[in-house]
Amino acid sequence: MKVAITSTGPELASRVDPRFGRAAWFILFDTDTDDSRPVDNSEGVEAGSGAGVSAAETVVREGAEYLLTGHCGPNAFRTLETAGVKVIVGVDGTVGEAIEKLRSGELQAAGGPDVGPHSGV
């Protein structure tokens, strides 16, 4: 299963970025193989508008089934939900810790966006 985690840096030891659309990086992690790969989100960080939509497209394109992040707004949520990606908000600590929490079943998918639009600006 592929998981995308918003991250402040390109490592598993980096902290989870609380923002989704304007997160610095996404870490793509495969829970079957333990492979991980950083995806740069400078396009989202610098987007004039629609950073959440753009980031959601990236996560969908990368084939993630889960997104772990701090907060997720309505446009990003709608995009991810339509594509069948499960969104988990309120995640903190390091990226590695977030993956362990997901594995231990501690994390629950959100039923909707937890913040309004433009919250990560």
């Binding site: 508008s49 497209e57 446009n75």
Partner: protein, 288 residues
């Protein structure tokens, strides 16, 4: 006596410097001098000129922007439209495209690049234009709908409604961003209202640079003169900016404003200053 239209934009850079006080006062004063005047509230995010103009609104028309509608039968989710969209208003998923209309600027690029003709143009209401009369003045105001992020289409629709004769007084939004540029760009004269404070000077500089880039002649009204320091007036002298009028810092003007009364009605000194401003802009309008 019909004359070609003359557009005066009252702008400021900084918010709360007295744009509406000056613009409504100027419109009423010019009308009392027999000019055919239309007052336009271009601060569509927070129009408040009506409080002082007290217009009778005769008509309210919707402002619509173009938005893309997708025919999911035709759409192949090729992603060309999402690539073309500068505003990330489209998300391309495996089997379809999602459109976020509140992010759309209505440019039409998506329908132009679609190879299968799946995109057609719909309309979305983003605000209204109210029109009526306020005493001898024509009155127009734009209202951006609550929750909408883009005021410029409403400003553009408002400016299209200016009559083609007389004088139009445009009460600009604060700042120096898109809706302000839209208000200023077609003006014949920009009147920049500024306070003689460090903040006032900083924001006046930004406004002056913006107006100069647009090539619009400009003059300055110093409001709340007596507060702050002399740097704003020094700046105007150095830059060769004409000070069209000086409004003294007077609590009575603020009290009238707070009651929703035009200060000219209760405050003779303010009326004299606005009279001089009206004479100055009329001179700009008809150079000898």
């Amino acid at each position: 006596m019909t004359r070609p239209l003359f557009r005066i934009a009252v702008a400021s850079g900084k918010g709360g410097t007295g744009k509406t006080t000056v613009a409504t006062g100027l419109a009423a004063e010019l009308a009392s001098r027999g000019e055919k005047v239309t007052y336009l509230d271009c601060d569509v995010e927070a129009p408040n000129g009506h409080i002082f103009m007290r217009p009778g609104i005769e008509e309210s028309r919707p402002v619509e922007v173009a938005v893309p509608l997708f025919d999911n039968e035709k759409c192949t989710a090729c992603g060309e439209c999402c690539e073309a969209c500068r505003y990330n208003a489209l998300a391309c998923l495996k089997d379809r495209v999602l459109a976020f209309h509140e992010l759309c600027h209505g440019c039409g690029a998506c329908s132009m690049v679609c190879p299968v003709g799946a995109v057609s143009e719909g309309a979305r209401k983003v605000g209204t234009i109210d029109s009526g009369t306020a005493g001898a003045c024509g009155f127009l105001q734009g209202n951006l709908s609550v929750g909408e992020a883009m005021p410029t289409p409403v400003v553009r629709a408002l400016l299209r409604r200016i009559p083609d004769e007389g004088i139009a007084v445009l009460d600009a939004p604060p700042g120096a961003s898109c809706p302000v540029v839209e208000t200023l760009r077609s003006s014949d004269l920009a009147v920049l209202v500024a306070e003689p404070t460090p903040f006032g000077l900083n924001d006046l500089r930004i406004a002056v640079e913006t107006v100069r880039k647009l090539g619009v002649p400009l003059g300055v009204v110093v409001n709340r003169s007596g507060t702050g320091d002399g740097r704003l007036v020094d700046y105007c002298e150095r830059e060769g900016l004409e000070i069209l009028a000086v409004i003294p810092d007077d609590r009575k003007i603020a009290e009238a404003y707070a009651r929703g009364v035009m200060p000219a009605h209760t405050h003779p000194e303010f009326a004299r200053v606005i009279g001089r401003l009206a004479a100055a802009v009329t001179r700009e309008k008809e150079p000898a």
